[in-house]
Symmetry: C2
Subunit: 228 residues, 2 copies
């Protein structure tokens, strides 16, 4: 292929994108922005931006998160790095994608210098996205579902206190399948990661006991081995 010598790979722009998940209106949603500038101006995209000197990649992601939602201290992890040479016609663009999970609260998205519209959007019905962002979104969803099965990310979707039915509903929405109430409760309680907060939530029927996630809980992974 190309025989460009070393130290001359040309100008490379490194950006960080963050797929921000939440639960709203009984659906799994992501935050999207409409780009104000650049070759994809006017198109919807995953929020993000260039890395700045002195920032770690995670710093850049956290900054993006705060700029768009005002939230700090949320669940965030690095996802995958996309760097195909033709993903942006203007420049060599390498994007380190992340995903974040924020609680189902009333977060008001904020516009920024780069984005003239910001909006929550259902995962299964999103507009056409800039670059290869649709691919990133799919990958993030796959990973979220996957991690839900063997880690405690699920709790990040809910506010600090929640009922068991709310938790079950969150799992059902993300996994896209129904779960048995009695089995769900037995399993989640026997895992020992929840504690009753003491409060109750009153609604239409019998009040539901509120729980919180024990932060001293070790949400350990016990994958069933496929082979050995």
């Amino acid at each position: 292929m190309s025989q460009a010598g070393k130290a001359s790979a040309g100008v490379v722009t490194v950006t960080v994108d963050v797929v921000i998940f939440t639960l709203r209106d009984e659906r799994l949603q992501v935050l999207l922005v409409r780009r104000r500038h650049g070759p994809h101006a006017g198109m919807w995209a995953i929020p993000g931006g260039e890395i700045r000197p002195g920032e770690t990649l995670r710093d850049t992601a956290l900054r993006t998160l705060e700029e768009q939602t005002g939230l700090v201290d949320v669940y965030l992890e690095q996802l995958y790095t996309f760097g195909d040479p033709d993903r942006d016609p203007q420049q060599r663009l390498v994007t380190v994608s992340h995903f974040a999970v924020v609680p189902a609260t009333d977060v008001v998205p904020r516009t920024t210098d780069d984005a003239d519209h910001v909006s929550w959007c259902s995962i299964k019905d999103h507009p056409k996205l800039a670059f290869d962002h649709a691919e990133i979104l799919h990958y993030a969803l796959k990973r979220l579902r996957y991690k839900l099965e063997y880690t405690a990310v699920g709790f990040e979707l809910l506010p600090e206190e929640f009922t068991l039915t709310e938790l079950q509903t969150a799992y059902e929405i993300v996994l896209g399948e129904d779960l048995d109430k009695r089995n769900f409760r037995r399993k989640i309680l026997s895992a020992g990661v929840l504690e009753p907060s003491g409060g109750f939530r009153s609604g239409e029927g019998r009040p539901a006991r509120l729980y919180r996630y024990r932060d001293d809980a070790v949400a350990e992974v016990k994958a069933r081995r496929l082979f050995p």
Copy 2:
């Protein structure tokens, strides 16, 4: 922090590193190179290099792999991207790390323009490494062990034909624990991913039946759910 405007994050160098695993001498080993140039000249490091125009990140990793080992068509996956601002004092260096798994054959490492020594090295007894490469190595090992439990990477460590005892030994070496022979054989055979090649390997005792991995096998993941 720094208020560098957009499109001015300065010069960023993007490199791709590849942690190459193999089995040699009853140990899990990785390929290391001794750097010929740069701030870490004379130090051992994980092989890799800068991305070139027209190359995908995977292309760069595959090229590195071929330059160092001559191997093509091996197992390779992206691992994690490291980009802390202080990992190289000279420049902003973002490294997309990968890991590869190559069969336990007699691969002769090759030196390159960048590396005056190349050598296999036991994973648990490696020299001090340049940059944050020790961290990358640890992370790669963790991921390899992890994937071994729910995918078919294990087979990539062996030549095309192998005995069940060889396969079990490979698993034991990587996982660092002993496995029960009967349970191992029952489980691996009932998974339906192996087929007898028809041959036998003669050694000290009774000849062992040779197997190969069925490339039409779907090595599906069945993680046991932790919570729901």
